[in-house]
């Protein structure tokens, strides 16, 4: 982290554990931390109301993003066009492209 960012954090008056949460919460929620690092963060969050609240906020944001998956998909026209192309290539399962929902 850059020096200005560090100074900015120190100005907030947060504990070093709270700063770790700010820096690594996304790694933690993405399950991309080492087991030891994740455990340290988990332990701090369990005992810190402020960080627990921030975790809830970020988890909710990621949850909202993940739900977009169900809303966006390949359009019917594309499926039809691809089915025609695959059929012309001799693909036996071309009709399955159209039938997928």
């Amino acid at each position: 982290m850059s020096a200005p960012a560090r100074t900015q954090l120190e100005g907030l008056g947060l504990s070093s554990s709270c700063v770790d949460v700010l820096r690594h919460l996304w790694d933690y929620l993405d399950d991309e931390m080492t087991p030891g690092g994740a455990e340290r963060l988990r332990a701090h969050i369990a005992g810190c109301a402020q960080c627990r609240e921030y975790e809830g906020y970020q988890a909710c944001f990621l949850d909202t993003l993940a739900k977009l998956r169900a809303e966006l998909g390949a359009p019917t026209e594309l499926r039809q066009r691809l089915a025609d192309k695959l059929k012309s290539q001799g693909c036996g399962c071309w009709h399955k492209v159209r039938n997928e929902s």
């Binding site: 993405d30 906020y57 390949a74 036996g92 399955k96």
Partner: protein
């Protein structure tokens, strides 16, 4: 090892190939489309990229190694098709420090709290605004957010698809998330939403 697998695949014949293609590749059409759209930002271009991706995948099916992740294989083809279609090199790697964005997201949250929007995502249906914000997000942040947050890929898998180091995926992802959160706070303010509680645990 690979030679043996390829030989087995070839022994399957057309019917076997079609059955395997149907089983392994076709279920990912929606996923590939979302990824293509994140790259092209244009419906018609995305259609073309998806079509070329699947045709190429079908023709090159013998190179798919059974037992590996077909979605990742398709996404990699998709990205290559896109890059070729644009006749451009891989985007410049942005090595911004991801943690600065993570910390900046904390500041966005603090600003939201001050204005009474602390449980923004829990109380409001921000899905439409989030979709719009995602549409407006610049590359390469947009495709990275799509791969990890919408498609649920690990940093490592997304890095393989994008052909960049894991650290680059992380910094792009964090930047994308921070920009989205800033945008959503602005939307919430514009809509005049104010939550009842000013803080506390939920």
């Amino acid at each position: 090892m690979t030679t043996t697998i390829l030989a087995t695949s070839e022994l399957l014949g057309d019917a076997g190939r079609d059955a395997a293609f149907e089983r392994e590749a076709l279920p990912w059409l929606d996923d590939v489309y979302r990824f293509a759209l994140s790259l092209t930002r244009d419906d018609a271009d995305a259609d073309d990229v998806v079509q070329e991706t699947y045709l190429r995948a079908y023709r090159s099916w013998h190179t798919f190694i059974p037992g590996t992740e077909c979605r990742r294989w398709l996404f990699t083809i998709c990205r290559n098709v896109f890059l070729r279609s644009r006749e451009r090199q891989r985007p410049t790697v942005d090595l911004e420090d991801g943690e600065q964005d993570a910390v900046a997201a904390g500041s966005v949250y603090a600003a939201a709290r001050e204005r009474g929007y602390d449980d923004l995502y829990a109380t409001l249906d921000l899905a439409p605004a989030l979709r719009d914000a995602l549409d407006e997000l610049a590359e390469p942040f947009r495709s990275t957010v799509i791969l990890v947050d919408v498609e649920g890929m690990t940093y490592e898998t997304a890095a393989q698809v994008m052909g960049v180091p894991i650290g680059t995926v992380r910094s792009r992802l964090f930047r994308g998330r921070r920009l989205l959160q800033e945008k959503l706070l602005t939307v919430a303010e514009d809509l005049g939403f104010v939550t009842a509680s000013a803080g506390g645990m939920r």
